[in-house]
């Protein structure tokens, strides 16, 4: 039994299940999909634990090489995306928040504005939208870069130099994504709230900027800051893990890279939604 389980969860079986011909019955098909899902979860969990272990054990190792790489990844997953996030924050403020402000003003419910803004922008839309955009812009690039590197033998080259590929290739990406998602969420939330205020002013909503920001400040509590920090860090960590897992953990051929990139982005979206659901439960529980 133990041997069978060990065999079932190896990579060869994953490939065999994935590329096997379609089964004749729906129950067999369903069973295969469930089995594939379990194998993927097992692989992702193992890779996440390995990455976490390397992060904890080697965060100070080889600083001369790793610090520039971490800075480069922070730049890629954070600083380089700022212009896009400036635009998205502006659009979010105008399209969503501004309309909400106007709608609440029409029914005389502007007193609920602060709470609505905190729930919609700070808790939900800001972090989730940031995660999706970083996944699309940087996560996809991660899979393609790592998949190509794997196919070209960079992993063997690193191992031949006694360099841990997870430390050299994954750790900077994880740190870059965690810090990038965290910082970009803050900028997106602040930008969206500010542009919403601007929209309200332009639309002649009877609400002064002072009242608007006072309501938001009153609706925020310490838990919002803590959970926002945890949530964005979780988004960044798991987006990096999912995309790096698909790029690096499995041997690829060059022609497989594009297909794997699509799979990684799909799984990244699912993981982000699941994390979001967990945090909704946490918000409701507290």
């Amino acid at each position: 039994m133990r041997d069978n389980l060990a065999k079932a969860f190896d990579r060869a079986n994953l490939q065999r299940f994935r590329y096997a011909p379609l089964p004749r019955s729906y129950t067999n098909y369903l069973g295969r999909q469930i089995f594939l899902l379990l194998l993927t979860i097992q692989g992702l969990a193992a890779f996440a634990l390995i990455t976490l272990g390397v992060l904890l054990r080697k965060s100070h190792a080889a600083r001369g090489v790793m610090q520039p790489r971490v800075r480069q990844e922070i730049n890629r997953a954070g600083v380089a995306l700022l212009p896009m996030f400036f635009f998205v924050a502006l659009a979010l403020g105008f399209l969503v928040i501004g309309q909400t402000v106007a709608a609440l003003a029409k029914v005389g419910a502007t007193d609920y504005l602060g709470e609505t803004m905190v729930i919609v922008v700070v808790r939900e839309l800001g972090p989730l939208l940031t995660a999706m955009l970083v996944l699309a812009r940087v996560g996809t690039a991660n899979v393609i870069e790592l998949g190509t590197a794997r196919a070209l033998g960079d992993v063997e080259a690193l191992e031949a130099l006694s360099i841990d590929p997870v430390h050299y290739l994954i750790m900077p990406r994880v740190l870059g994504m965690v810090l990038g998602v965290f910082a970009l969420t803050i900028y997106l939330v602040l930008g969206a709230l500010a542009s919403g205020c601007l929209f309200a002013f332009l639309a002649n909503v009877p609400l002064t900027p002072g009242d608007y920001f006072r309501q938001i400040a009153e609706a925020l509590n310490w838990l919002d800051f803590v959970l926002l920090g945890l949530k964005t860090c979780a988004f960044g960590f798991f987006i990096a893990v999912v995309t790096c897992y698909h790029g690096l953990a499995q041997p690829l051929r060059l022609d497989e890279v594009s297909r794997v990139a699509v799979r990684a982005v799909t799984q990244g979206i699912v993981v982000c939604v699941l994390i979001d659901a967990v945090f909704i439960v946490l918000y409701l529980a507290t």
């Binding site: 080889a62 070209l152 080259a157 031949a160 006694s162």
Partner: protein
Amino acid sequence: MDTKAAILDMQGVQVTALRDPSIIVLEEVTWSVRTGEFWVVAGAQHSGKSDLLLHAAGLMTPSAGTCRVFGCDTHQFDETQMAVRLRVGLAFADGKLFNQLTLAENIALPLLYHQRLTDAEAVRRVEALLELLELTPQADARPENVPAVWRRRAALARALALQPELLLLDNPNGGLTARHRQWQMNFLDQLWRGHDFFGGHPMTLVATTDDLQPWRHPQRKFAGVHEGHFTVLGAWGGDEFTGHRAVKELLALPEGQVGG
């Protein structure tokens, strides 16, 4: 009787393919490499020489048998054995340089990663290696922008950066012009005898090849790989050497047809 210690010792090793570990490429490899020896492993292309070197370097663990490098079983070749791992250098057949780094940065990578060097010291050591391998004019070029022969040389420089005691070379002459091949053979010979650059300490070398002729040397030891079997052949011209099918095949090939 050879009293020198075996720094690479394989006993009944089953060599599997890197791309698909379920494929066995060599059966029952029993082989000892002692300090100061220069081994040449001959075999046709895709006969399993590269996979054998990956096992010897500890990058792959044998599915059967034991492989010991400097007395350490490669099954236990983890982070705790880093000091042992750093005594082995490996230069791949296609170089496997990192395309996002320049040649100089590729060579500097192991130095900066494993040794706490100041920037000035790292630059000095990389410049010295570049000069030794006549790579200075290409130092700032990226691998994709330099010819394959210089990429090979950069890969050799990178493998030598940490001054290994055992240097494994995967088909180092493949695709080289006669001039570059001559330079390389002389350089490897100097390494084996003890190059001044490395303090005059003799280096143990293992090279694979699919073109035997340039490796002819009375003091080198030969092994052959043919149809999934590894055979120790001894010195050039011995009975076992001349009778081996891989040797017959490789020596029958006209010059210039081999490479890659």
